[in-house]
Subunit: 180 residues, 2 copies
DNA sequence: TCCATTCTGGTACGTTTGTACCACAACATT
DNA sequence: AATGTTGTGGTACAAACGTACCAGAATGGA
């Protein structure tokens, strides 16, 4: 499974397209034809670079997850403002993409091939909250809250401002500090 | 769209089948044929009682959501043990069904027809935590934590015992009490 | 330059899909 | 008993699907 640079580029274009289709139409919208059309490549390219639809699917998820993990891990620890901005941007900049990420999470629960990556993504959230690993129990509680916060943002569209997001994160953190 | 009692029973059987297929194969497994086969009725019944696949889908979600809401609302307020047991049973008794419920949540985010029900389900969690509506901000934070807890249970299989679930809920509640 | 590998893009095939249709059985109402 | 509504189940069909195939273009090392 080794490709030329140009081939690799086409492969990447297909993976990008998967994420766009996913963000636009949800997981039901994924098909060889839809993705290849979105990527602007012939149908056969999708079957040439990925041995099955499942492979295409899983590869795209792995990359999306890795990007998300990198985003979380790139956050300066303790900078709540930056953290809140990251959450805000992620959900509201492209709501479809954020929803897709969670849809993929649940897809990962049903596919062993994705489970490991999904757990990694999940735990990276904890690491962003507790980089030193000094308060694991605290991080655990806060990450639960942040997860719920993200769902609420996607769903209800609130908190609707960066400030409000930051305030909520601050509440979650300061609140659970006393219990850790 | 009114049906005879027997017709109504068949309709219900189809809705039940949707939930079973959903729990077993995920949202991608839903089709007229799969559902009718699962329900033990001919294909045409699925098209007779539901004007489209979307209608079947949406109707099943509405019922599943309503049941979930009833479960939450039936909880005796303040009885954390009972609440923890409800969460534990819901996730671990039939993990596929629990995952399906969340998959449907995300489906609801993309379909206006489901949005209202989804929000209702979501808010019923808050009501279970704060029946009197006396501490809305507190309930908001705790419900976020419980949401995250549910995801973690589905995903990582932890906390793995009723006691541990209860302890976590207790932590979430007592912790955020100080911030409300 | 030659040749083997890699990549291209069009086409084809067998399945499964959503949905429509229809002849008929069951039923309720008069 | 007659009649109109409602439910039944088999079948049909066009579309979309995953995937396989292949003739040839492009590419890179000998």
């Amino acid at each position: 499974m080794t490709f030329t640079p140009k081939g690799e580029a086409r492969r990447d274009a297909l993976l990008d397209a998967v994420l766009r289709v996913l963000a636009r139409d949800g997981s039901g919208g994924i098909s060889h034809r839809a993705v290849s059309k979105e990527a602007g490549v012939p149908l056969a390219a999708a079957t040439y670079y990925f041995e099955s639809l499942d492979d295409l699917y899983v590869s795209a998820l792995k990359r999306a997850t890795a990007e998300q993990v990198a985003l979380f891990e790139g956050l300066v620890s303790g900078d709540l403002r930056q953290f809140a901005e990251a959450l805000y941007d992620w959900v509201y900049r492209d709501r479809g993409a954020a929803i897709a990420q969670y849809e993929l999470m649940f897809l990962g629960m049903r596919r062993d091939a994705l489970r490991e990556d999904a757990e990694h993504w999940y735990r990276s959230l904890e690491c962003a909250l507790d980089p030193q690993g000094q308060h694991p129990e605290h991080a655990r509680l806060v990450s639960m809250g942040v997860d719920g916060l993200l769902l609420r943002m996607m769903w209800l569209g609130e908190p609707a401002t960066v400030d409000a997001v930051e305030a909520t994160v601050r509440d979650l953190i300061s609140a659970t500090t006393s219990a850790s």
